[in-house]
Symmetry: C2
Subunit: 305 residues, 2 copies
């Protein structure tokens, strides 16, 4: 009879979703860490603080896809860690396609024209036939690939070694990063923050992109060499960037990104967490847990995802 | 051995596409109407002027989907008229999804936040689960329905009688217009300008929409009662509108639309005509024509499409 600790700013909302599922064998829920909690369902940054106070901890279900706060090697790892997958791919696809269309269809320019009472019938571009490159092809990348194919795009993927998505037209690995970059109209990073991904988007990669290319980061800010990106945009080495994530969040007020030309910011909102969706994943995993079956979306502490 | 007249601001571009197709039995091309022209491939507004000077005319392939300039009952109808279908659906789907995402994902608000150095992490909406209503479900509407379903939307369709697209979840006809409107998050008109569609988007229809609803017009401007739309937006009876088409184009500088709140304009650019795509349709139909087979995309002068 496990007891559940919920750690979230929206803990009560989550509790209601879980309550209405009528989970078997659950020995109550609490919003405060206590000695008898065996399961934690929460936001990694809050869980991190609670870790020392959970002697009977067996399983943590993260409410986020990214679990960096729990990956510090100094922290305990004597429990099962699962994260959220599958729910963010659709939302992130909407986000990426939205900004690609803002660019192709000149949506900001039309707004300016309207303000100036100018009948601006300049011909716009289309996604059809453009090439998108995915830095990282996990569950989110695979969903993006499906969406890009739907709009008639060519999809390139850069991964460590896996080639699991059939919707990627061409894969690149290892030292092939400049090759991967050279043919792209759009570069989208969905990479998590791990030892291997740090500053992978650096001056070399940015220089390898065509000058027409746009960069979109919906993974983690640590993947980007931020001064190199500012430089690339200032010198028009690439056409633009949309950044949802940053090395430091919230972004400090004095950061150059706020005023870098052709740089748009979206403040870590690309994949809103709807408690209903996240609770569903917990409930599904809980039912596996009490039956002693393998849980879904297990995180490898070494790999970091 | 038919002779071809090409009438377009981009006539030379079209001529190159046709030339490189090496069409059999073609007795030359011209950019000026002359007595011996049997086939015309062009923009309806230019063709209209040429009509009296084409005694041997047998077939007109319009470069546009809309052929209103040729539908005036005072004009001759002693020829076969075909228009362009199939190529605009994808482009219009991009356009509609782009503006739906601008709204759902608060893309303009994020831009404002960035200008003000505000970390705006307010949660956005999603297309998933929203309901879109299509006024008109021809080839473009059907393509829109497929795209909306791809993003998890519910699709309602209003047509005279046809229920040809399987991707429409629920059809409405005839006097059912207010019913159709009442459940929508988005209303999209793809209606052509015909005797039956004039001002179908009037105060009654706008009042039947929920106040959260957005209206998008990518069909023809004559479908909208323009003063009623201004009124609905000024009184927040609907949340916003995106207009690509207008009763008078270019829109007169003094028209109230320029400054109506929550109204965006896109200056008849939702489906750019790429000569390559349009030429393909002509070539396909030409090959049918010289073999005496039925042409594709034939327009019914009475119906107007």
């Amino acid at each position: 009879m496990p007891k559940l600790l919920i750690l979230s700013k929206q803990a009560e909302k989550y509790a209601r979703h879980i309550e209405s599922a009528g989970l078997p064998q659950l020995d109550g829920m609490t919003f405060q860490a206590s000695e008898d909690c065996e399961i934690v369902f929460g936001e990694p940054s809050l869980i991190r603080e609670a870790l020392p106070h959970l002697p009977r901890l067996k399983w943590i279900q993260s409410m986020w896809a990214g679990v960096e706060p729990l990956l510090n090697p100094a922290l305990r790892r004597d429990y099962l860690l699962t994260n959220v997958r599958g729910v963010f791919g659709g939302l992130m696809s909407e986000f990426v396609i939205g900004y690609l269309l803002v660019h192709e269809r000149r949506i900001f320019q039309r707004l300016e024209a309207q303000k100036n009472r100018v009948w601006d019938e300049s011909v716009t571009g289309t996604l059809n036939g453009k090439t998108i490159g995915l830095l990282g092809v996990g569950s989110i990348g695979a969903e993006l690939a499906i969406t890009a194919k739907f709009f008639g795009m060519t999809v390139h993927g850069y991964t460590r070694e896996s080639e699991s998505s059939k919707h990627v037209d061409k894969y690149f690995h290892g030292a092939n990063l400049p090759d991967f970059a050279s043919g792209l109209d759009y570069l989208v990073s969905v990479l998590p923050n791990t030892a291997e991904t740090g500053q992978i988007v650096n001056a070399d990669l940015l220089n390898a992109l065509p000058s027409r290319a746009y960069f979109i980061n919906i993974g983690r800010g640590q993947v980007v060499d931020e001064p190199a990106l500012v430089e690339a945009l200032r010198q028009n080495k690439i056409a633009g960037a949309v950044l949802d994530v940053f090395e430091e969040e919230p972004l400090p007020t004095e950061h150059p990104f706020w005023t870098t030309p052709n740089l748009l910011m979206t403040f870590h909102t690309s994949a809103p967490s709807f408690p209903e969706d996240i609770a569903k994943i917990f409930i599904e995993n809980y039912l596996l847990y009490i039956e002693g079956k393998p849980l879904k979306y297990r995180v490898d502490f070494e790999k970091g995802y």
